[in-house]
C-alpha cells in the first residue's frame, strides 16, 4: 500500500486524491486478481492498475486531450536558458532540497507535465523502474518510453530554469557542502 500511495502522491500531487487512487487501485486489483498471470512482478501489476485508474479519473474530470511535447520547444533560445537558474552547484540533492522554494518549483514543474509524460518520469526517475518495466506498465515499447522520458526531463529542466530561484541554501547546508561530493555523476 505504501508503494502505491507514494506513486499516487507523486502523480496526483496531493494527499486526498492520492488516497482515492490507492483505494481505486486496490479495489480494481481485488476484482482482477483472478486474471493476474504472475508473469510480471506484483508491484508492476499494481503500478499498471494505478496508472489506468489515474487516467480514468482524469478523463472523468476533464475531457480535453493531453498535449504532445515536441523536442523543438526545448531548444534554448537565449544564453540564460542553457543554465539551471537554481542554487544547486556543489550541493547534494538532499542539501539542495532544504531550499523550500526548490522543492515547490520541482513539484510544480512535474505537476505541469501532461499526465502521460509525468507517469513515465515518475515511474522511471522517481520510482526507479527500468524502461522495460515502465513499458509494461504503460503498454509502450522501450523506445517510446525513452522518448517520453527525455521530453519530460527536458520539460522539467526548462521549468526549473525559467523559475530562476535566487535564494541560496542556508548557512549550515553550505558548511556541510564543503566536504560533500555533489551530484551523482
Amino acid at each position: 500500500m505504501d508503494l502505491i500511495y507514494r506513486y499516487a502522491n507523486r502523480l496526483c500531487g496531493e494527499a486526498e486524491a492520492a488516497k482515492d487512487l490507492v483505494q481505486e487501485t486496490f479495489l480494481n486489483a481485488y476484482r482482477g486478481f483472478k486474471d493476474f498471470r504472475g508473469d510480471a512482478q506484483i508491484s508492476t501489476w499494481l503500478y499498471t492498475i494505478a496508472s489506468r485508474a489515474c487516467l480514468r479519473m482524469r478523463r472523468k474530470k476533464k475531457g480535453e486531450p493531453e498535449r504532445e511535447l515536441s523536442l523543438d520547444e526545448f531548444v534554448p533560445t537565449s544564453e540564460g536558458e542553457f543554465r539551471l537558474q537554481i542554487p544547486v552547484d556543489g550541493l547534494t540533492p538532499e542539501e539542495a532540497f532544504q531550499n523550500k522554494e526548490l522543492r515547490q518549483a520541482l513539484d510544480q514543474a512535474i505537476e505541469k507535465l501532461p499526465r502521460k509524460y509525468r507517469m513515465v518520469l515518475v515511474l522511471r526517475d522517481m520510482e526507479g523502474l527500468s524502461a522495460k518495466e515502465v513499458g509494461t506498465v504503460m503498454g509502450l515499447n522501450e523506445r517510446a518510453v525513452k522518448s517520453r522520458l527525455h521530453r519530460a526531463r527536458l520539460f522539467v529542466r526548462r521549468e526549473l530554469s525559467a523559475r530562476g530561484i535566487t535564494e541560496g541554501p542556508s548557512e549550515d547546508v553550505r558548511a556541510t557542502t564543503q566536504t560533500s561530493g555533489g551530484y551523482d555523476r
Binding site: 505504501d2 500511495y5 488516497k19 533560445t77 526549473l160
Partner: protein, 102 residues
C-alpha cells in the same frame, strides 16, 4: 519548425558566446542527452558527444543542468502515509471489497 530553422534560431541565440555551432549538431546532441546521461549509448557515440561537449560550452552547461534535474527527481522525498491514514485506507478498501463480494 524544421531542424535547419531550429539550428539557425539556436545559433542566433548564441551569437554572443563566441562559439559557432555546426548546423544541426547541437540539436542532434540534445536528442540524445537522456540516453547519454543514462549511459545507454554505444561507446563511440558517447565519445562523439563528449568531444562535442568539450568544444561547445553551451551544450556542456545544458547537459549538466539536465543531469541536475534528473538527480533532483531521483532524490525528491515524498510524504509517507501516516499509520492512522494507512489503517483507515485499509478498512475502507476491505469494506468496499466485502460489499462487492456480496
Amino acid at each position: 519548425m524544421t531542424k535547419k530553422a531550429i539550428s539557425r534560431k539556436k545559433a542566433g541565440a548564441q551569437g554572443g558566446s563566441g562559439h559557432k555551432h555546426e548546423t544541426g549538431r547541437c540539436l542532434h546532441i540534445l536528442q540524445r542527452l537522456s540516453a547519454y546521461i543514462d549511459d545507454e549509448l554505444a561507446s563511440n557515440v558517447c565519445e562523439e558527444i563528449r568531444r562535442h561537449l568539450g568544444a561547445c560550452p553551451n551544450c556542456e552547461v545544458f547537459v549538466e543542468s539536465l543531469r541536475h534535474t534528473v538527480a533532483l527527481c531521483r532524490h525528491r522525498p515524498t510524504p509517507a502515509l501516516s499509520p492512522t491514514d494507512r489503517q483507515a485506507l485499509r478498512e475502507n478498501i476491505l469494506r468496499a471489497a466485502r460489499a462487492q463480494a456480496r
